[in-house]
């Protein structure tokens, strides 16, 4: 009762990063609210997975293991998750803002008749006063998200319905292990009694999911190029620089749309969110939709020939210059200095 639920997503029967990120955030919220953190895994052949979760500070893992539950399909997962929510009455339920989470979340919220906030980038506990009724609420979940094409940041609350549900973007919360010896309990769900035959309405004919090739959210150093980099060939220069530093290449949407590099490297509101130790923004103007995905980087170096480019305001070091002059020099000096 009154605990925090995290729906854990699987990728080839491995718990996906987004779920570990949510558990890490969920742990902090649970400490704040003095309640338990509970994970829900729904799939098949997953009995080994709880021990991966406990170190993140998970107090209970609910497992629904059944052939009919893998791969993910909307209605069976909705039925199991909703049934568990009704029984356990969590105060908060978190789901990833991924193609699975955004398929499942709204379905669950409509079945329970509760609110759902999509695509949050921050979660905070706080109080709320309804200005119309004057009613005051303690310890609600502030669900914070960009809206209106990224031009505004809205804080949403669900004062009266439970659980408070939100989907959270990939990469914005940090994965953090609490303790390798943290132990919680495992509760198995009796799936057969819950699934009706007509719950299985979809037949999966084919599934081709590529493994993640580019690991931007895990990279410590990111060398990102924008439209100003000008060509695919010039991106090779960025790649050389990134390889030298042991980093990954990222990109703005304008660079991706121009075909300079692949879509999986896009950073920003409609790409991935990153928070590396060091972020190079090269030939990137600094549109809000881009900076939304990188402004939490520990250090930012901008390289832009336009002294008024907004990206310079965000940078720790703003280099006003041509990237094709600056990058070769950086490569040369780095090789000299790191010898």
């Amino acid at each position: 009762m009154e605990n925090i639920f995290v729906y854990c997503e699987l990728e080839n029967n491995v718990i996906s990063d987004i779920s570990l990120e949510l558990l890490s955030k969920g742990r902090k919220l649970a400490d704040n609210l003095e309640c338990k953190l509970e994970a829900v895994i729904i799939g098949h052949n997953i009995l080994e997975l709880p021990k991966v979760l406990f170190p993140y500070g998970v107090d209970t893992v609910y497992i629904a293991d059944n052939k009919k539950l893998s791969p993910y399909s909307t209605i069976p997962h909705t039925s199991i998750f909703v049934d568990l929510i009704k029984k356990e009455q969590p105060q908060i339920a978190l789901v990833g803002a991924t193609s699975i989470g955004r398929d499942l979340g709204p379905r669950v919220s409509a079945r329970l008749g509760v609110g759902l906030t999509a695509d949050c980038t921050e979660l905070v506990i706080g109080d709320y006063k309804d200005n119309k009724t004057g009613k005051e609420y303690k310890d609600l979940l502030y669900q914070i998200r960009p809206a209106f094409g990224g031009n505004i940041i809205a804080t949403i609350v669900n004062p009266d319905t439970r659980p408070q549900m939100a989907t959270i973007r990939e990469g914005v919360m940090k994965k953090e292990i609490v303790s390798s010896t943290y132990e919680g309990k495992i509760i198995n769900i009796d799936v057969e009694s819950l699934l009706k035959d007509d719950d299985i309405v979809l037949e999966i004919i084919e599934r081709e999911i590529e493994p993640r090739k580019v690991n931007l959210s895990g990279a410590q150093i990111i060398v990102s190029g924008g439209f100003g980099v000008g060509s695919k060939e010039n991106f090779d220069l960025l790649k050389e620089f990134a390889d030298l530093l042991g980093g990954e290449v990222g990109a703005s949407r304008a660079a991706v749309d121009s075909g300079y590099t692949g879509h999986d490297r896009q950073i920003g509101q409609t790409g991935v969110t990153v928070r590396p130790k060091l972020y190079f923004a090269i030939g990137i103007s600094g549109a809000i939709q881009h900076t939304a995905g990188m402004d939490k980087s520990a250090q930012i170096i901008s390289i832009n020939s336009d002294p008024d480019a907004p990206i310079h305001k965000l940078a720790d070091y703003a280099i006003i210059g041509e990237f094709n002059e600056v990058i070769p020099k950086m490569i040369k000096f780095y090789k000299d200095e790191s010898k």
Binding site: S109, L116, F148, I152, E203, I204, D316, I319
Partner: protein, 290 residues
Amino acid sequence: MGLKIIVLAKQVPDTRNVGKNAMRADGTVNRGALSAIYNPEDLNALEQALLIKDKFKDTEITLLTMGPPRAADIIRESLYRGIDKGFLITDRRFAGADTLATSYVISKAVLKCSPFDIILSGRQAIDGDTAQVGPQTAEHLGIAQITYAEEIQSIDKSSIQVKRRLERGIEVVKSKLPVLITVHGSASKCRPKNAKLLMKYKYAKTNTELQALNEDYMNSFKAKPYLNIEELNLDDLGCDIERVGLKGSPTKVKNIENVVFKSKDSKRLTASNRDIKGLIKTLIESRVVG
């Protein structure tokens, strides 16, 4: 074979072009300066419906849009492209609805158009980017859903096969009808307006719009019933007033902030050897790199 298809489409402010002129001096968005457009992915959804109709001529496409009176534009835009009928769901009491309240009203309107085989919606609307109204509508109706559809591969009287576009791949699924499908922006682009249909429906109007016009217009209008765009309000749909509008919306906006860049005290450097060498040294010494 003819199918009954319902398309859900929304009029949205063009948030993709929030340029300098749409931002006020105090940093807030001036919504009035943004043009109202057909939500991009809803055009992809409309095209899927039209493609089915190309194949099965007896197919009937009904479009539903919920919004203020001017959202009648969405229905005209759709009539020009080949839908059979459109309803404007409009009522002041619906104002302030979140996705749950919106999807409830839409599901009531869908029931008015029952029976149906397929509902097509966009994946998400660019004003809220929630991607919730489609799946929530399916849940209210108790029917199956297929999200992120890129291509409808085959249909027969009782089932449909669809290719879905996921973050890192594709999935092909088969579902029984009826089903709600949300269409991804990577699906076929919508066809342009048809010149003949444009001539035919140019003067299509809702009753609200008609009241602002003169009598001559009204009379010529009455002779052509196909020009009437029907409006549906709370009472027409038999909605529970507790479940609509602000009151029926469990999510509340606590506050809104404009995004402003907090300037860091950044060090400005040039491309000179001295500056670049100095920076690289600092990075190595502070162990940020190396």
